[in-house]
């Protein structure tokens, strides 16, 4: 029982981290209809920037305070993400107004390649630590209820809180503000949005910037757990089942989807894995998402797919 709970918690926390990455996908998709393949690369790029700046800043400025250094590094990394958002709009999206989904998807792929190259050129290909002072050692709860207690990572707990905060903020933004509404309009029809005076350029910079910051937050949390390296981009693949399960267009869906996938993944690996040789969690997550899709083709909370004649 204790172990089951532990696995469950582990799954929930892992799921929360996926959610953070998934959130970036959802934001951009919801607000511009672009399936942003580059989200993984953005997480990596942001995390790399953060890791290296937090290393360089004390060096440049002769700072002692770790906290100050991290804050400045975060600001600089955020600035990088803003520049990126601006460049993406200027150089890519602007020229692809009103094109089909696959074309845009492909363009974000180009961006992925570019970021992979650029990130490693600027920041290097090594493994870099991000140390924002997250506690690494496990916390044992209920030691007297269960033998050995239930182990929880403090790091994960913090990540969960951050993710939950971010999500609530973003949901509010989408539902309550007129910009939020405009974003959804753009996703439906670029041209019509243009025709009534929604400035696509600004909208896209905003969205990519917000997605960039989300990527940065995700990157910092993942990075401080795992260290920052090229492979971080592959967490994007872990986030994909999350978004289709939750629905491509739903911010809360990203969270719920993340939790379901996280738990499903860990429980399956721990309880079913040993019977079939292990290593099943990744496909299990996808199959789980697929099963949900068979019942709700738009994901749990996604907007209904409209086909009408």
């Amino acid at each position: 029982m204790g172990f089951f709970l532990e696995t469950l918690f582990g799954g929930l926390m892992a799921g929360m981290l996926y959610s953070l990455v998934a959130l970036g996908f959802v934001l951009i998709f919801k607000a511009s209809g672009v399936f942003n393949f580059a989200q993984g690369a953005m997480v990596l790029f942001a995390a790399l920037a953060m890791a290296r700046f937090s290393e360089w800043v004390p060096h440049w400025l002769g700072l002692q305070s770790k906290f100050l250094a991290n804050t400045i590094a975060f600001a600089l990394a955020a600035a990088c993400m803003f520049v990126l958002a601006w460049a993406v709009e200027r150089l890519v999206l602007r020229h692809l107004v009103n094109q089909e989904g696959v074309t845009l998807l492909m363009a974000t792929l180009g961006i992925t390649y570019f970021l992979d190259g650029l990130g490693q050129t600027l920041f290097g290909s090594d493994i870099y630590p991000i140390d924002v002072g997250m506690p690494k050692d496990p916390l044992l709860l209920f030691e007297n209820t269960f033998p050995g207690g239930i182990m929880v990572n403090q790091e994960d707990l913090i990540a969960t809180v951050v993710a939950a905060l971010l999500v609530s903020l973003l949901s509010l933004f989408f539902q309550k503000t007129s910009t939020g509404r405009a974003l959804r309009a753009v996703a439906d029809d670029h041209q019509a949005a243009q025709s009534i005076g929604i400035p696509l350029a600004r909208i896209w910079v905003i969205v990519w910037c917000v997605a960039g910051i989300t990527a940065l937050v995700a990157g910092v949390i993942w990075g401080s757990k795992l260290g920052v390296q090229f492979s971080l981009a592959t967490v994007a693949l872990r986030a994909l089942p999350v978004i289709i399960l939750g629905g491509l267009t739903s911010v809360p869906g990203a969270i719920i989807g993340g939790l379901i996938i996280g738990v499903g993944e860990k429980l399956s690996e721990v309880y079913l894995g040993p019977f079939v040789g292990g290593g099943i969690e990744i496909w299990f997550a996808y199959v789980l998402a697929l099963v949900f899709l068979l019942f709700r083709p738009q994901g749990l909370f996604g907007e209904k797919i409209i086909d009408r004649v």
């Binding site: 998807l105 492909m106 180009g110 190259g117 496909w283 996808y286 738009q298 009408r308």
Partner: protein
């Protein structure tokens, strides 16, 4: 001026329904084929054959298969790598488990099993659409990755999970030297391209495209979505499966599941999008772009660097390559979102009007 079809009148629908209705095109294609079968063997060195042409041919074949599903039937799939893997491993099993199994039959058997798997994973497409389906097909990818790594039967109990084949021959001719391999792949590709072209310009092709463009209207004119989608999955995964078997048998010789990882799936998808969705020719352009360009860049950039007197390190080189590649993808999309094939046809249209601007 020279590229005009005026004066070429068709007197039968048969003539008008040819693959290349314009005479100049027909000649060009004959010349191209002749060059590919005769000229290339005379001119190409081993490196060109082994490192560029053979991979190009095989991936073009796979891209052709992907294009049928994605470009013609509109079902975005990110699981093509898995179907390649099924083709490769099942062909391998047929080849090594059954004595005296002819290579060609083994390859086709690989394709056959890929068809089965493709159809199974195609079933969700009846309900799930668009990007949701795309992500769902990744389930196929990861499941197959896992199965070939974990289930020893598929790898003939090889402890490392890596398998290999040797002594390939077709009708008694060995397929050993690069040239033989090249010709073998070329012949298969030409054959499959012809068959695929026939399909896509025939009734079934129209069904696929109808489903892609407007599925409700398609149903109303009597097209069964299930039949159309599943047949697209079947045909496409058959071709991809054969390509996978070729990739394993002819190109790699020895392989592990990583050869058909999710990156391969993405790569194939990029090929068809860059090349042009819904165009047989586009598959070739796309494959050429994705296979040849990085190789070209990796050879060309150092030369360029040297020109400016800068010694480019391997890492910087490879990062630059990746950046340039990314930029080129975006650039091509901006110039022509419908892919290289569309660019090509616009070029032809311009040629037709030349020297008048419009």
């Amino acid at each position: 001026m020279f590229y005009r079809e005026n004066g070429q009148f068709k007197t039968s629908y048969q003539a008008d329904q040819q693959i290349f209705p314009v005479a100049q095109d027909r000649w060009a294609i004959v010349a191209l084929l002749a060059f590919a079968f005769v000229g290339v063997p005379l001119l190409a060195d081993e490196y060109l054959l082994r490192a560029i042409l053979i991979p190009f041919l095989i991936l073009a074949l796979a891209a052709l298969g992907v294009n049928i599903l994605v470009g013609y039937c509109g079902q975005i799939s990110m699981g093509s790598g898995a179907f390649m893997a099924v083709g490769a491993y099942m062909a391998y099993n047929c080849f090594v488990r059954i004595d005296g199994m002819p290579l060609l039959v083994a390859l086709l058997a690989g394709g056959f099993f890929a068809t089965l798997v493709g159809m199974v994973f195609g079933v969700p497409s009846l309900r799930v659409k668009g990007l949701y389906l795309a992500v769902a097909t990744l389930a196929a990818q990861f499941f197959c990755d896992w199965a070939f790594l974990r289930i020893p039967w598929f790898t003939d109990n090889s402890p490392s999970g890596s398998v290999s084949v040797a002594n390939l021959q077709v009708f008694g001719w060995p397929i050993a030297t690069p040239l033989q391999k090249y010709l073998f792949c070329l012949a298969l590709l030409a054959l499959f391209a012809l068959l695929a072209k026939n399909l896509v310009r025939g009734a079934i092709g129209r069904e696929w495209m109808a489903i892609r463009d407007m599925d409700v209207a398609a149903a109303v004119i009597g097209i069964r979505p299930m039949y159309a989608k599943l047949s697209a999955f079947a045909v496409s995964s058959f071709i991809i499966g054969v390509a996978g078997a070729l990739w394993a048998f002819v190109h790699l010789g020895s392989w592990e599941p990583a050869a058909f990882s999710v990156e391969r799936s993405f790569q194939l998808l990029f090929m068809v999008i860059i090349g042009g969705l819904g165009s047989v020719m586009g598959s070739f352009f796309g494959a050429a772009f994705i296979v040849v360009l990085p190789i070209f860049l990796s050879r060309f950039l150092p030369v360029l660097g040297a020109l400016f007197g800068a010694e480019v390190s391997t890492a910087l080189l490879s990062h630059t390559e990746s950046m340039v590649f990314g930029v080129l993808i975006v650039w091509f999309l901006i110039v022509e979102p419908h892919g290289l094939a569309k660019l090509w046809s616009i070029g032809r249209q311009k040629m037709r009007l030349w020297p008048f601007p419009h």
